[in-house]
């Protein structure tokens, strides 16, 4: 860390907390505006919001202000403590992933040796929050949504982890900075012009990872837990005002974080070809490169979301257990064999 030399521990911690606390809402706003409001509208041959700010950029800010003004309603027979804590638990998992994603050689909140493992572990905390929301709402639709979410997220956690194992084998490290460096210094049959982004060798892993991410984020075609046309929003049914805002921020914040993880693991992270991986320049342009890659991955996520109908619960489970997990296991075996062979 560059500023680790000058600041006390509490000052560092304060800065880190501030950075993460500012990043999550900003990321949710950006993804919400660019993809949910604008890309979806243009795909559906309409304009989307145009009034708040130029081209409607402030629409989500206005929506957020509206949510904050709303009454904080508790259902009559709700389990008040569980009901109130659930959105915080969901948002907490989002915050924790942001701690680990690097955007430059020195720009990372916490550079941990077990980065990938922790990021995936943090992401599964949200299941607990969603189950709490489903149970605490004292609503049948919510309960069904919560249970569906729990079943789905547990099923898709496995292919998510297994898809990453291939990358970890190839890079030889769990550290996210190490994975970026491995891609930057890698060579394709002796030619190191563009390094070796793992999407080239781990394309199966990338596909499985993206599908599992889609399910982890409960985006269509895996949006059974919220399915508006069946269970009318699932575990979110009873939430109003800022508690609903928490869920919204959690959804889009996590989408941004997972897009970041995908960019780091498969697209070379903050590194661009032509610049030395240790160069200080990357501390400046790294965040921009990273942002561009994240937006590309997020575009894929939302493109699928707006194009497909949704699976049924049993189809969704059998897809995870019968297709994704065997494929990712085979990918691990092949990667391991090739790693030893070369």
């Amino acid at each position: 860390m560059i500023f680790a030399l000058e600041l006390a521990y509490w000052q560092q911690t304060l800065i880190k907390v501030g950075v993460v606390a500012a990043l999550v809402p900003a990321a949710a706003l950006i993804l919400g505006y660019v993809f949910l409001l604008k890309m979806m509208s243009h795909m559906q041959s309409r304009l989307g919001p145009m009034e708040a700010g130029p081209h409607g950029v402030l629409q989500l800010v206005a929506d957020g202000l509206k949510f904050i003004q709303k009454e904080d309603i508790f259902p009559d027979r709700a389990d008040r403590f569980v009901f109130a804590t659930a959105p915080v638990v969901v948002l907490m998992s989002t915050f924790l992933i942001y701690v680990l994603i690097p955007v430059g050689p020195d720009l990372v909140v916490e550079d941990l040796e077990t980065g990938v493992f922790l990021a995936l572990a943090f992401s599964s905390i949200s299941v607990i929050g969603i189950l709490m929301a489903g149970w605490g709402s004292a609503n049948k639709y919510s309960l069904m949504g919560g249970l569906r979410a729990a079943g789905q997220l547990i099923a898709y956690e496995l292919p998510l982890v297994l898809a990453v194992v291939g990358v970890v084998i190839q890079a030889g490290t769990l550290n996210l900075q190490g994975i970026v460096a491995a891609q930057a210094t890698g060579e394709i049959f002796g030619w190191g012009g563009i390094g070796n982004p793992f999407i080239l060798t781990q394309f199966v892993g990338f596909a499985v990872f993206m599908i599992a991410v889609q399910a982890e984020l409960t985006q269509t075609p895996f949006d059974m837990p919220v399915a508006e046309s069946e269970i009318v929003g699932g575990y979110q049914v009873e939430y109003t005002g800022f508690r609903f805002l928490f869920f919204f921020m959690g959804e889009f914040g996590t989408a941004f974080a997972f897009a970041g993880l995908a960019a780091v693991l498969f697209l070379g992270g903050w590194w661009v070809p032509g610049i030395d991986v240790d160069s200080n320049v990357l501390n400046v342009i790294g965040p921009i490169v990273m942002f561009a890659k994240i937006m590309f991955v997020a575009f894929l996520i939302f493109w699928f979301r707006f194009s497909f109908p949704r699976f049924r619960e049993d189809q969704l489970q059998s897809f995870a257990w019968k297709v994704l997990i065997p494929v990712s296991l085979a990918n691990i075996v092949v990667t391991g064999v090739l790693k030893v062979a070369f």
Partner: protein, 390 residues
């Protein structure tokens, strides 16, 4: 097709028996869930009381009447020309098609025949209503299954048809254009060419839907084999329209019961599908939109000249008698049974609307299906609340 559904129900009964003892020991009773009256899958205010066992429906009961507007009674205090304004609102998506059977029944009692040009233009508007109605279904079914984008394409392209209806009649949703003895106006200048253009756009829309929705693997996985209606069960419940044709029953009032309209003058095909599942009902309606585009184009080619109004008295009094006329409306068979005592107003009007019968099969059909399939089946049966509650 019968075998699939029977096997499914037998398997369900067997699993119920196996679970029963366990449920008694653990005291895990079922759960009753209210789908509606404010539920997005019910297109309005249908209420479905479903008893669930986990995510499986044990029994489901439709409760209707939340939107009852008393049209049958209202017609008894409206003169015959005023009734068309009311009945426009029964199936609000294909409104012109609601007027036609009533007017035909009144004409039959008065022994008036509309001139050929009026009959042809009536048929054109009848088919335009069908396209406007069903093209929205094509997008809505996808929406119920979780794909939002096709719904917007449906709204966009339905507009081409609504624009044509508005250009000729002045009303987008409620034209009120049909008169006893003919039509209110002739077609405006240039309308025929514009309508041909609109039909071309609708054909493109059908291609898009075929690509985007019915060709999609997830859509097929969600709809194939779901909600299978065997033909004899469908007939016993009085299903009509695309719902019964999707079960393989070749029955279309447009072809089978001539009522004076111009369908028999043009070349078209009644589609059927052997499967009787949700996918068949979707596919069949898609083909019907295409067929309707063809009917409209052919009718416009051969439109006869002449007057659009027969000689009818200024104040319409319908002679005493009874008449029943039904036509193949977008949702199925729709008919009016008029009893007249020779007054300015009907003595009694019985409205047979398609959705009321189409929805009556739901308790039988929803037994043993999963909650997501409830939505698929309701969407594929395609009802309109105004058509159920009248």
């Amino acid at each position: 097709m019968t075998a699939i559904s029977e096997r499914r129900q037998l398997a369900y009964i067997a699993s119920q028996a196996a679970d029963a003892r366990l449920n008694l020991e653990l005291e895990t009773g079922g759960m009753t869930i209210n789908l509606g009256p404010q539920h997005p899958a019910t297109h309005g205010t249908l209420r479905l009381v479903a008893r669930l066992d986990g995510e499986q429906v044990v029994e489901a009961d439709p409760v209707m009447g939340y939107m009852h507007r008393g049209y049958e009674k209202l017609t008894e205090v409206r003169t015959y020309p005023q009734v068309t304004t009311l009945v426009n609102r029964i199936d609000w998506l294909g409104s012109f098609a609601n007027e036609v059977p009533f007017i035909l029944a009144a004409e039959r009692l008065m022994e008036v025949d509309a001139p050929p040009r009026a009959q042809w233009i009536r048929t054109v508007f009848f088919e335009l209503s069908r396209i406007a109605n069903i093209s929205l279904f094509l997008g809505d079914m996808a929406l119920q299954l979780g794909a939002i984008t096709p719904a917007f394409y449906a709204f966009r392209d339905r507009e081409h048809v609504l624009n044509q209806i508005e250009a000729a009649t002045g009303g987008r949703f409620h034209p009120n254009f049909d008169r006893i003895g003919g039509l209110k106006d002739d077609l405006p200048k240039g309308w025929i060419e514009e309508t041909r253009g609109a039909m071309a756009k609708l054909r493109t829309f059908c291609d898009i839907i075929e690509d985007l929705v019915s060709g999609n693997e997830i859509f097929q996985a969600r709809t194939r084999g779901i909600g299978v209606i065997p033909p004899e069960v469908g007939l016993a419940y009085g299903l009509s329209g695309a719902n019964i044709r999707a079960s393989g029953v070749d029955w279309d009032l447009r072809r089978d019961v001539p009522v004076g309209l111009a369908w028999n003058e043009v070349d078209w095909k009644v589609w059927t599908h052997p499967d009787g599942d949700s996918y068949a009902r979707f596919w069949l309606r898609l083909m019907e939109v295409r067929e309707a585009c063809g009917i409209v184009e052919q009718l416009l080619d051969g439109l006869p000249s002449g007057p659009i109004m027969a000689k009818v008295p200024r104040i319409i009094k319908v002679p005493a008698g009874e008449a029943w006329v039904s036509t193949e409306n977008p949702l199925g068979e729709m008919g009016y049974y008029i009893v007249s005592k020779g007054d300015l107003v009907p003595f009694r009007v019985k409205i047979r609307s398609a959705s009321f019968n189409n929805i009556s099969i739901t308790p039988w059909l929803l037994k043993g299906v999963f909650v997501p399939d409830v939505v698929t089946i309701l969407a594929s049966l395609y009802f309109i609340l105004g058509d159920i509650d009248r």
